[in-house]
Each structure stands twice: as C-alpha cells, then as structure tokens.
Symmetry: C2
Subunit: 331 residues, 2 copies
C-alpha cells in the first residue's frame, strides 16, 4: 500500500496547494493555510456555511466550497479534527453579516474545536447542525450519537441552495437539520486504508472478508463475513436503511447516493447502484435523483457506502439548484 | 483483491443497467444492450459522435454520452473491444443526417470492429479519429502506433462542443484530430487491477515498486523502480510530456488533467497536481483549465495519469462550452 506523496508531514499541505492551484477561480486558502474559502468571498447578507474535518476524505470536506454549496472549510490533519484557529478563521471568512451555520460530522475532535470557536468568534449568530447519518454507528433510539458520513454532502447541497437563495439563518439551519434527519447511510468495505505516517493499514480486513457498517476512519462495523455477491450485500444495506426510516416524516421519494470510499472500481459502483435501485423500487420508493461517484472517501479504503435521503416537496427542488464547486457541479 | 459483483458473467451488464437506472434523463441502452445512447436522441442535422471500447474503464467510455459530448457508445466486455453489432448499432443511433465521427482509442480489437462497421453501415458519411495520446506506448516518430488513454476525453469535449454548435462533419473531425495531436499523456501505477474472472492481478507490481508508462490494461511501461517521492515521479512525467510536445504547433497554454487510474486517494491526486502545476509553470506554461478526478480508469489499478493538451485560440473556448453527461458536467 504505497502513497503518492513527498512525506507524511507534507501530505495535507501539498494536497491543499494542489486543490487551490487546480481551481483558482473557485477557491483559495484562508488565513491559516488550513482553511479553504470561496475565491469570490461571500455575498453580503448571505448566510455563511462552514464545514470542516480531517483530511483523507476528499472530496469531503473542502471540495464542496463554491457557489450553491459551502463558504469555508477548516481542514485538519489526516483523520484529525481542524485546529481551533482554523475553525475560527473559517467562521470569520464565511461571515457576511447574516450569521453562519456550522455543518460538520459528529466526531469528538471536530465538535470540541468548533464548539469552542463558536463561543470565541466575533460573529454574533452561529448555529450548528451535526451530520449523524451513519445508521451503523448507533441504534434508532440514539440517533444523536451517530457519526456523519457521505450523507452530509446532501445537507451541504440543500442548505447551500437555501442560503444562496437568500434564506435567513434559522431557515438554512432548519433545512440542513431536516436533510440530515431524513438521510440514512451505511458503509461496506473489503480493504482498509493506510495513514501516511504508518506502514500498515489502519484496519486489516483479511483476504476473503468484507465488513458491513464500517466507518470512514475504519471504525468497527456491524459484522465481518466472507465476501458475498453484491446483490446480497447491497440488498442488506438498503433493507437496513428502510428499517431505519422515520414513518412519521420520511415519505417514498428519495435521493440516492452510491459513494466510493476510495478504491472501488467505478464499474462496480454501478453494479451496486443497480441493486440499490432494484430494492428501493420493489419497496415502492421512487428515486428522483442519483449521485454515483466519490463524495466522501477514506483514502484507499476499498469499499462503498449508500446514502438515502427521503425528500419532501420543500427540499426536492434544492437538489436541482445550480452549484459549482471543485467536485460537484449541477447545471 | 475482492470484487463487488454477482458473477464475472454479469459484471458488464449489471454495471450498464446501473448506469442507465442512475441517469435515466441522460442515457438509455441502445438496441443491442451493449450500446449506450442519449436519452433524447440526436438533434436532426447534428453530427453524431460515437465512441466505444472495453468495460472496466468507467467513466470511459459510456460515461461521456450526453449534450455537448458524445451521442452513442459501443461497449465491450472487460478490456475487450465492442462487437461488430454494437459498433453498427452505435453508428446507427448517432446518425441524424449529418454524418458520424468515430472517436475511440487505438487498440486492435476496437479498430477491427469499428473499421468493419464503418464499411457495413447504412450511414453514408463516417470518419474516424483515433486516440493516440499515450507517449509511453511508442516514440515521437511513431505517434500513429500510440495507444489512447485518458487524453481522449479532451477530444470528446472539443469535438462534442463543435458538433453541438452545429459544425459540419469535416470540421468536427478536424477539431477531434487537432485535440488528439496536441494531447500527451503518461501513466504511473503501483498496483495492478484484477479481471472479474481471474483470481490474481492482471499485472503484479511488487510491494515496493512503481511503474512509469503503464497502459490502462496493464501494458508494460518504460521502467519499474522502487517507489519514490511524488515530486520526482510527477516531475519526470511532466518533463517527458514537455519533451514530446510539437514545437511547430503546441504553444504554451494548456489544459491539464490528473486522472485517477482507479484506487488512488483523491487527496493524492491533488498532491500530484501540485507538482505538475509547479513544473509546467516553471517552464512558462500557462494552465488555463484543470481536471482532477476519475476520467479513464483501469478498475482498481492504483495509479494515476497526467494528460496535457496544448490548446490554441480555436479549441480553448470549446473546453468552456456547457456539457452534461453522467460523469462530466460543465456549466
């Protein structure tokens, strides 16, 4: 498991330099160098949206900075939360007088520094919504304990569209919260990733096995078994999502994301998509929009995740609003 | 090296089903089932553009069917050329009365069936342009022998924009040819991929090694050596591209693509991008547009390729023309 890098100590900064070099019209580094912000700044009076998290997950997190999506991102070391200074910088850069929403995954390190930054910042109005879409990380009665995975990008999309459209902070916050609550994700992996400074994989999944419910840092999943046909694996993933849905709010129209956790061939993402589509359709669920590709990765982890967002008439059009970021462009 | 599939025999068809299920507004299967065509059909009087090739390379080839890009794609088995019938079907579906351009990679199997199809088809005007951008596959005096790799997608973009804009067949053909001639690619890999029906990797690159110039089916490259820092590796790749450029036509403005051959972490693509940007800029070359991501893969091959297209005032605006396909959306 070799790495394309100069050294572990330059991994993150070299990658961020590449990102800003590649998309100079869209993004630039913020004050700390570990912040990515919109090149054009934030339109006066628009609610700012900030995310942040560890490196090693691109396009999460800083790949979603741009019109119709996010305004600033605080970037940590690989699989580590961003520093307090990066969080403060990101909040500051996203502020255009209408308040700032912090929208990031439910991880201890991220929470600690973002919470402190939200108290210390000079920005008066700051709200927080946490990504908690990973259904494998806690049961239905402990949803607040769940981790955030690829499904958070769907909340970037809806909240970003609402903010771009001029919605006030409370409204953008509500849209983000609603999207998160209606989004259910689960992962599957058959080989772990390696930290730049390590010699061995972070998680060792033996030759013939696959693990259901693994997290994007290799957090333990629900079970580990011999590799099985995709129809069985994806069938179980979608069934678990359907069991997790909220009958009082989730309807029967969804946005479906099949996300590459890293090293999965694109052809195989579509093989997985086919089965997810089949199971949802058999359950009388209508898929109104699909996203297939790399949205939230774990470096070279071989695996994929499925996210289902049960939409309603309010959030459906937000998925069609135009966006332009390094990794997500919708016309 | 596990595969997310039901069986080797259903690998391609399951993947194509997934693609058409995921993007029903954009694409559908053609007559043979091994053809992907635009959902909306081809506008009457527009030049049709057809590509094709083996599976296992998504987004190549069928991921680029859509407005501003291609009209039809003939799909073969994994790493095998499409059948004659698929080629005939694709040409037929792409025809809207203004002729059809065949734009595909320079591989024996693809050429055989496309050449035969271009003679057998009822479509009167058919032209062919071959992707020959892989500088590692033959020397500068044998450019016609080179293989086509990720750089062909840049010709999809320019020829697709020209055709969408109403250019006649000779013009679309000339634009494709010009883009191909000005595009130079080279690959690098540190782990091979596995065919769905095989137990072992197609190419075995030992633990500590990296191979420069490897092809997208694992064709042998220029050298195999111990893994080195990215700045040295990417530095050599870009230097080789600069040595290969045509002084009489290539200028100093380029489109730069850093392409994931499969299993490379996205963070590392940007680490590679940073160095490519540095070497080009040091050589007084201006990068006017960048593409970083998965454009032409080799299933789970761990590696990346660099493509540089030396643009001129004619083809530069074609890169900015809007497109919408399953894998490439430009606003």
């Amino acid at each position: 498991m070799k790495k394309l890098m100069n050294s572990p100590s330059t991994y993150v900064d070299d990658s961020l330099s590449g990102l800003t070099f590649a998309y100079p019209d869209l993004v630039r580094a913020g004050k700390t160098g570990r912040t990515i912000v919109r090149r054009a700044g934030v339109r006066k009076g628009k609610v700012g949206i900030v995310t942040g998290g560890g490196s090693g997950h691109l396009p999460l997190f800083c790949g979603y900075v741009g019109p119709g999506l996010l305004d600033a991102c605080a970037v940590g070391n690989v699989f580590e939360g961003p520093t307090l200074q990066s969080c403060l910088d990101a909040i500051d850069m996203a502020d255009a007088g209408a308040g700032v929403l912090l929208l990031y995954g439910n991880y201890g390190g991220d929470r600690m520094n973002f919470d402190m930054a939200s108290k210390m910042t000079r920005v008066e109005q700051v709200r927080t919504v946490l990504g908690i879409d990973d259904i494998a990380s806690a049961g239905p009665h402990e949803r607040h304990k769940r981790r955030g995975v690829a499904g958070i990008t769907l909340a970037f999309k809806t909240a970003g569209a609402a903010a771009e459209g001029g919605a006030p902070l409370e409204e953008v916050t509500r849209i983000a919260q609603k999207t998160i609550e209606r989004t259910h994700s689960i992962g599957l992996a058959w080989a772990g990733c390696r930290l730049p400074s390590a010699d061995e994989p972070l998680v060792d999944i033996s030759d013939g096995d696959v693990e259901l419910g693994i997290g994007i840092h290799g957090e333990p999943g629900i079970w580990r078994r011999p590799m099985a046909p995709v129809d069985a694996l994806v069938g179980e993933m979608v069934e678990r999502i359907l069991e997790d849905r909220l009958p009082e709010s989730d309807g029967n129209k969804v946005v479906l994301m099949v996300n590459n956790l890293g090293a999965t061939p694109v052809d195989e993402l579509f093989i997985a998509y086919r089965r997810a589509h089949e199971v949802l359709t058999t359950n009388d669920i209508s898929i109104v929009r699909s996203f297939v590709g790399s949205f939230a990765t774990s470096m070279e982890m071989a695996g994929m995740s499925i996210s289902v967002c049960f939409i309603d008439d309010e959030i459906e059009p937000l998925f069609s609003a135009p966006t332009c970021s390094p990794f997500w462009s919708i016309q």
